[in-house]
């Protein structure tokens, strides 16, 4: 396993080839992060590319006070926010809306594993973007509490209580959808 922080310090020191290892380690997760926040495939790929370009451009600002992952996701969040600020007419989470419609169509059909996942996804889409983000960073991007708190710039206890609220809203949304489908 590579020490990503050490690799990033080497990139900072001018060994740009080390960025390739960081890219290979993180591209799939980062791409899925953009997909899960509701961007389409092409845009998600562009955003991964843009994020790594910024990692390279801002390499001298990497201090190592946080993990590479949390620093990189910070850049990724800014990249996507800037994209939507520049393209105000483009709606955010367009894929999530599509997914909701698709899910609604399938909800009536059967209620087994696939459907349960569809309900999970729909309940995730139903909660606020802030709550969704905390859950996603922990559940799908596998960041730990410390990394998420650094990324979101909040203290650990606040994060824990926000996480609990988010999970409880997700559960409420899930239960109401299960109730609807029954």
């Amino acid at each position: 396993m590579f020490d990503e922080k050490e690799l990033m310090f080497q990139v900072k020191g001018g060994q740009l080839d080390k960025l390739a290892t960081l890219f290979e380690n993180n591209k799939v997760q980062l791409f899925n992060y953009f997909l899960r926040t509701g961007n389409n495939r092409a845009l998600s790929e562009d955003l991964v590319q843009e994020t790594f370009m910024r990692v390279l451009a801002y390499r001298t600002s990497f201090s190592g006070s946080s993990t590479f992952k949390s620093w990189m996701y910070g850049i990724a969040r800014n990249t996507v926010a800037e994209h939507y600020r520049k393209n105000k007419n483009q709606s955010l989470n367009c894929d999530m809306d599509d997914e909701e419609i698709a899910n609604e169509r399938t909800l009536a059909e059967e209620f087994e594993t696939k459907q349960q996942n569809a309900i999970f996804n729909k309940s995730l889409a139903n909660i606020s973007p802030e709550d969704r983000e905390i859950i996603m960073l922990s559940r799908f991007q596998q960041l730990n509490y410390q990394e998420i708190s650094t990324l979101l710039d909040c203290n650990l206890n606040t994060l824990k209580s926000r996480m609990r609220n988010a999970v409880s809203k997700l559960q409420m949304s899930y239960q109401s959808l299960v109730g609807e489908s029954n």
């Binding site: 791409f31 991964v48 001298t60 996942n117 999970v167 409880s168 899930y174």
Partner: protein, 286 residues
């Protein structure tokens, strides 16, 4: 023991793939709290189910990334080479003035002391000034190399950003890239190559005209001159062709100017372009 603590433990253990069991205290607390049990079950279910399968990006992402990385490496290499050249020849630049500085100050201090009778006091002052000055010049030299390093860093970054902007899909972004390239290091062959590629293939006339304008800052085109000549003779867009001819007539080598004139004389170019070249030649004779 609180609900929050148990939920924190659950999420942390799932997130860290920790298989540790519930403590007895937690278990007994949980047994008395059915709602919390249900909440934990839900979390467990959500965290362990393959809710959203991993999607793989296309190979285009890899191709774009490695292209960007290779450009950044070339830009870095280019600026390092420039840095070595500058450091090897400090006589003409900023470094030279810094090296000369202690000598000129020494001469000044000597000239102040010579005619004065307070030699002892002045000698002490001289030692102090010399010590201070030498110390400062050493740190200035260090600052100078740091400064040059910083300049290269900024230059390679600007070049990389300019190249990346030139590859954008939107014409307005490419246009901004062309404008930005003027602030970047235009002597970088990669940047020039990218600009010429844009000039040859871009669909937007304004982007192409802006590229011609930027290339004018180069003053001489070196190995790219032949490429520009071919573009100028084969260009279909009249406006772009005239501007390309203007560029080559203003900054091209004598040989290229002659070849362009020959093309006009042999009527191989559009009549408007021939007229333009002849008018330019007339103006230069006057």
């Amino acid at each position: 023991m609180t609900n929050q603590e148990i939920i924190d433990w659950k999420i942390a253990s799932l997130a860290n793939n920790d298989k540790s069991e519930l403590s007895e205290e937690m278990q007994s607390y949980l047994d008395k709290n059915a709602k919390l049990k249900e909440e934990l079950l839900f979390i467990d279910h959500f965290w362990t189910n393959d809710v959203k399968p991993i999607v793989m990006p296309s190979s285009k992402l890899d191709a774009n990334f490695y292209q960007m990385l290779s450009r950044a490496q070339s830009a870095q290499q280019h600026s390092v080479q420039q840095g070595i050249t500058q450091l090897a020849m400090p006589q003409n630049g900023y470094g030279a003035s810094l090296q000369e500085q202690p000598v000129s100050l020494l001469d000044k201090v000597k000239s102040w002391l010579m005619p004065l009778p307070i030699a002892q006091f002045a000698t002490l002052a001289l030692v102090f000034v010399l010590g201070f000055n030498l110390n400062q010049s050493r740190s200035n030299n260090m600052n100078n190399s740091d400064y040059i390093g910083l300049q290269h860093e900024v230059s390679s970054l600007s070049t990389m950003l300019a190249i990346s902007m030139l590859q954008k899909d939107s014409a307005s972004e490419r246009l901004s890239g062309v404008a930005y390239s003027r602030q970047a290091d235009l002597s970088n062959p990669l940047l020039v190559e990218q600009l010429i590629e844009l000039l040859a293939k871009d669909k937007s006339t304004s982007v192409r005209l802006a590229v011609i304008n930027s290339l004018g800052q180069l003053k001489s085109f070196g190995s790219s001159e032949q490429q520009l000549f071919t573009l100028a003779t084969k260009e279909e867009n009249l406006l772009v062709q005239i501007e390309l001819c203007r560029l080559l007539l203003n900054y091209g080598s004598v040989d290229i100017k002659n070849r362009l004139t020959d093309q006009a004389n042999q009527q191989l170019l559009k009549p408007e372009v021939q007229e333009f070249i002849q008018a330019q030649l007339m103006a230069s004779y006057i």
